[in-house]
């Protein structure tokens, strides 16, 4: 499941921010903001991608670097949200 999220996320990053240049893909734990991949508009796009693709809702309090500023962080965040959603269902 996590590998699936990671693959989709990386594809989104390559398509949306890197114009297909996979050599510029940041490391899994690297800051997407500091690497220059995301800016304030990019964060909004990322949130919309996560909400549409993984059927989760990103709450305001969850828009923190731990959840959204690295590939590993996003994968962890999506997994936790889905797990919480399954628990609530």
């Amino acid at each position: 499941m996590q590998a699936h999220v990671e693959d989709q996320l990386k594809q989104f990053i390559v398509d949306s921010y890197l114009f297909g240049d996979t050599t510029r893909m940041p490391g899994d734990s690297e800051s997407l903001l500091r690497a220059g991949v995301l800016d304030s508009t990019g964060v909004l796009e990322l949130i919309e991608f996560l909400e549409a693709e993984f059927s989760i809702t990103v709450e305001d309090v969850e828009t923190v670097p731990d959840n959204l500023d690295s590939i590993a962080g996003v994968v962890r965040f999506v997994a936790a949200k889905r797990h919480a959603g399954e628990g609530a269902a």
Binding site: D39, S40, L44, I47, E48, D60, V61, V64, P65
Partner: protein
């Protein structure tokens, strides 16, 4: 190069002390030399009733005299009621000619207000006539949230609510409001062409460094006489040059949205005197704990402010860039 004295005082308010007389003379020399270089006869200054444009106008008058400075007052629907009175006070105080150019009709014609309302309706479907709004960012110092824009709306009954913007709504709001700065700049260049003058840009160092301007809007100018000065230093020059006291006491505002909006809500993470210290410290390698003590915040808050400074520099690099050519044209670009 950083001198020993700069290192000693960096991160403290004394680091921003300037010799106002010497600084004025330094700027005056540049303003005069530029006109000679480009064979123009004077300066156009857009007056907002704020501290930066007032100081810029005063410096131009100091450089070339009031007879070679032309002021423009350019209010629109969202301008604060006192804006025009204060900007006129500046042209009256320094004795230069000026003209009122109401830009609301032009903005209406290009669809600025309609496009803005349509963008807001993407997140607030009922938004329309009689409503007011502004966009805001979360506080950097209060928590670790990423700085994502929200819109605050007030309905005709005065009830306020806050909504996170979608990408499309955010970009739509920004693209619509940017008309305001670009229409103003278009008129500045019209009058500059008519008079054979040069245009001025009024960003202070905080605004210039952090990209708080609209590309080809208020970011466009022939000369930016105070772009090297921290806001604290601009206030010091304002007092020295005799800018009216009411303007010197007025809080910084964007004067762009229908709800009053401070620059701290929209862009900067701290009041300007503290932002100045943080920006100065960022460039002088001041230890975070020393800066925290100086600005009266805890270390994690200061670390977030410094991160925000770096992030804004990255995000707004594009605003500073000249058009990219595939290869330089040596005869033009040197």
């Amino acid at each position: 190069m950083t001198t020993t004295a700069e290192t000693t005082t960096a991160g403290t308010s004394s680091a921003l002390d300037i010799d106002c007389e010497a600084e004025t003379q330094r700027i005056v020399v540049v303003l005069r030399r530029y006109l000679v270089d480009v064979r123009r006869k004077g300066y156009v200054v857009a007056l907002s009733g704020g501290i930066d444009s007032s100081v810029t106008a005063a410096l131009c008058v100091a450089a070339v005299g009031p007879g070679r400075v032309f002021g423009l007052h350019m209010p629109e629907r969202a301008s604060a009621p006192e804006t025009l009175r204060l900007s006129r006070e500046v042209s009256d105080t320094f004795g230069f000619d000026s003209e009122v150019e109401e830009i609301a009709d032009t903005l209406e014609a290009v669809g600025c207000y309609r496009r803005y309302d349509e963008a807001v309706r993407r997140v607030v479907p009922d938004y329309g006539s009689g409503w007011r709004s502004k966009i805001v960012l979360p506080s950097v110092t209060e928590d670790d949230a990423l700085r994502i824009f929200s819109i605050v709306v007030e309905d005709p009954d005065g009830v306020r609510s806050r909504h996170r913007l979608t990408t499309e709504a955010y970009l739509g709001v920004l693209a619509a409001t940017n008309f305001k700065q670009r229409v103003r700049k278009m008129l500045e260049y019209h009058h500059a062409d008519r008079l054979n003058y040069a245009t001025t840009g009024t960003p202070n160092r905080l605004e210039y460094d952090q990209g708080f301007f609209v590309k080809l809007g208020d970011g466009a100018a022939d000369v930016k006489p105070i772009a090297h000065l921290y806001k604290t230093q601009v206030y010091a020059l304002a007092a020295y040059l005799g800018v009216p006291a009411e303007i010197r006491a007025r809080p910084s505002t964007t004067d762009t949205y229908s709800l009053a909006q401070s620059q701290e809500e929209f862009y900067f993470s701290l009041p300007h005197h503290l932002m100045d210290l943080c920006l100065h410290a960022r460039d002088h390698d001041v230890p975070v704990h020393e800066l925290a003590a100086s600005v009266g915040l805890d270390v994690p808050s200061v670390e977030r402010v410094l991160r925000d400074i770096d992030q804004k520099r990255r995000t707004t690099t594009y605003l500073h860039q000249a058009p990219v050519l595939v290869e330089p044209i040596a005869a033009v670009d040197g």
